[in-house]
C-alpha cells in the first residue's frame, strides 16, 4: 500500500494540490496525446502531406 499512501499524501491530501494536479494532468495528457497521434499520423502518411512537399516549392526561405 506504499504507492497508495504516497499517492494520497502527495496529491490527494490537500484539495488545492489535488485540483491543480488534475488540471495539470489534463493539460499534459492533452498535449502528449495530440503529439502522439500526430506523430503516428505523420509517420503513416509519410511523403503524402503538404509539409513533406513544401520544401520543394518554397522559393526564399530567408
Amino acid at each position: 500500500m506504499s504507492f497508495a499512501n504516497t499517492f494520497y499524501n502527495a496529491l490527494v491530501k490537500r484539495n488545492s494540490v489535488y485540483v491543480t494536479s488534475i488540471f495539470a494532468g489534463a493539460f499534459a495528457f492533452g498535449v502528449s496525446f495530440d503529439l502522439g497521434v500526430s506523430s503516428f499520423w505523420d509517420n503513416w502518411n509519410k511523403g503524402k502531406q503538404w509539409k513533406d512537399l513544401r520544401a520543394k516549392y518554397v522559393q526564399d526561405e530567408e
Binding site: 500526430s38 499520423w41 502518411n45 503524402k48 503538404w50 513533406d52 512537399l53 513544401r54
Partner: protein, 336 residues
C-alpha cells in the same frame, strides 16, 4: 392474422391428403382430429404431429418463405418466377465503376498532396475550359498544394471585376487570394450554348454528387471506347459505358502527354485522370485529412472511456453479484 388461424387448420388439409396413403398415418390423424388441442396430446407420434401442426411452425415457415422471396428480390431486383421486360439493358443504366485503390482510401490515409497539386494543374489546363469550380478560392490551395506566393501568383493571372470606386464605376483588378476560381462561362446559357446544349456541371462537389465517387470520375474519364455495334449515337455525343444512358456530350479530353507535370511524373491518361480525381476529391472534402485525424483521436479516447466504464461497472457490481441472501426464519416465540 396468423393468430386467428385455428391450430387445426393444417390438419384438415393433411387429413384429406394422407387419408389413403398409409394406415399408420391415418390412425394418428384420426387420433389427432379427435383431440382438439395438440398440446394436450401425448405419445410418441404426437411429438412429430405437434411440431407439424404448431402455430410456431406455421409462422416460421411463412416467415421463411416471405423472407427468402424478399432476399431474392433484394439480391436480383425482381420477384422470382416473374418475367420482366426492360426498355434499358443494365449496361445502359451506366456500368458500375470498379473500386480503385486510392491513396486516401484507408482509415488513416491522408490525401496524396503531390497528386492534388498535379490534379490542380490538369484541372486548370484541361477541365477549366468548360467546368467551373466556384466553391474553391485561391486561398484554399495555400497549404494544401501550393505555397502562399504561388497562390498569389496564380490569382494575379486572373482579372476580377471589383468596385464601385469613388466615381461609382466598376473596375478590373488582378485577383487576390480571397477570390474564388473564375468560371469559364458568364452564365448557364452561355455554357449550354458553348457545349451543344449540355451544361458542364460545376466540379466543386462532383465527387460527392455522383454514385461511385472518385471511382466513377476516374472510370468516366478513362472509359471512352467506340460504341458497340448497333448503338446509335447522335451527332456531337460520345459513347461512354460508365455514363447513365451511355451517350455523353463531353468528348474524351485526356490523352497521353497532354500536360507537362513540373515534378516530372509521366503524364499518361490514367495518371492525369487519377490526379484530377484526387484533386476533385479534395475539392469536395477539403476537411478530409483533419476529419480522419480527429476520428482517430475520438476512437482512441472513446474506446478507452468505454473500457474504463465497463471495468467500473463490474467492480461496483461484484459485491451485488457475489452476495448470498440467506433467509433465517424467525424463531417461533409464541409459547403454546
Amino acid at each position: 392474422m396468423l393468430s386467428r388461424l385455428p391450430a387445426s387448420s393444417l390438419q384438415s388439409l393433411r387429413l384429406s391428403a394422407n387419408a389413403h396413403s398409409s394406415s399408420l398415418l391415418t390412425t394418428t390423424v384420426r387420433n389427432v382430429s379427435r383431440v382438439r388441442y395438440v398440446s394436450s396430446n401425448s405419445g410418441a407420434s404426437s411429438g412429430a404431429k405437434s411440431f407439424l401442426d404448431s402455430r410456431v411452425t406455421l409462422a416460421s415457415a411463412t416467415l421463411f418463405a416471405v423472407g427468402s422471396v424478399a432476399w431474392y428480390t433484394h439480391l436480383y431486383g425482381s420477384l422470382p418466377f416473374f418475367g420482366e421486360v426492360h426498355a434499358n439493358s443494365p449496361a445502359e443504366e451506366g456500368l458500375h465503376p470498379q473500386p480503385y485503390p486510392w491513396s486516401h482510401n484507408g482509415l488513416f490515409d491522408s490525401f496524396d498532396h503531390a497528386s492534388i497539386r498535379r490534379g490542380y494543374q490538369v484541372y486548370r489546363e484541361v477541365c477549366a475550359a468548360c467546368h467551373s469550380l466556384d466553391r474553391i478560392a485561391w486561398r484554399n490551395l495555400v497549404g494544401v498544394s501550393h505555397t502562399a506566393d504561388e497562390g498569389k501568383a496564380l490569382a494575379e493571372e486572373v482579372e476580377y471585376e471589383d468596385g464601385p470606386n469613388d466615381q461609382g464605376e466598376m473596375f478590373q483588378r488582378p485577383g487576390k487570394l480571397s477570390d474564388y476560381m473564375p468560371p469559364p462561362y458568364p452564365n448557364e446559357e452561355a455554357a449550354r450554348a458553348g457545349n451543344g446544349g449540355a451544361l458542364p456541371p460545376d466540379l466543386s462537389l462532383i465527387v460527392k454528387a455522383r454514385h461511385g465517387g472518385p471511382d466513377y470520375i476516374f472510370s468516366l474519364l478513362t472509359g471512352y471506347v467506340d460504341p458497340p455495334a448497333g448503338f446509335e449515337i447522335r451527332e456531337g455525343m460520345n459513347y461512354n459505358p460508365y455514363f447513365p444512358g451511355n451517350a455523353i456530350s463531353m468528348a474524351r479530353v485526356l490523352f497521353d502527354g497532354l500536360v507537362e507535370y513540373d515534378d516530372g511524373t509521366p503524364a499518361t491518361t490514367s495518371q492525369m485522370a487519377k490526379d484530377v480525381t484526387t484533386f476533385l476529391n479534395w475539392a469536395s472534402e477539403p476537411e478530409h485529412d483533419e476529419r480522419k485525424k480527429a476520428g482517430l483521436k475520438a476512437v482512441i479516447l472513446f474506446s478507452a472511456l468505454t473500457a474504463i466504464s465497463l471495468y467500473i461497472k463490474r467492480f461496483k457490481w461484484s459485491v451485488i453479484k457475489s452476495r448470498k441472501i440467506i433467509y433465517n426464519p424467525p424463531a417461533d416465540k409464541t409459547h403454546h
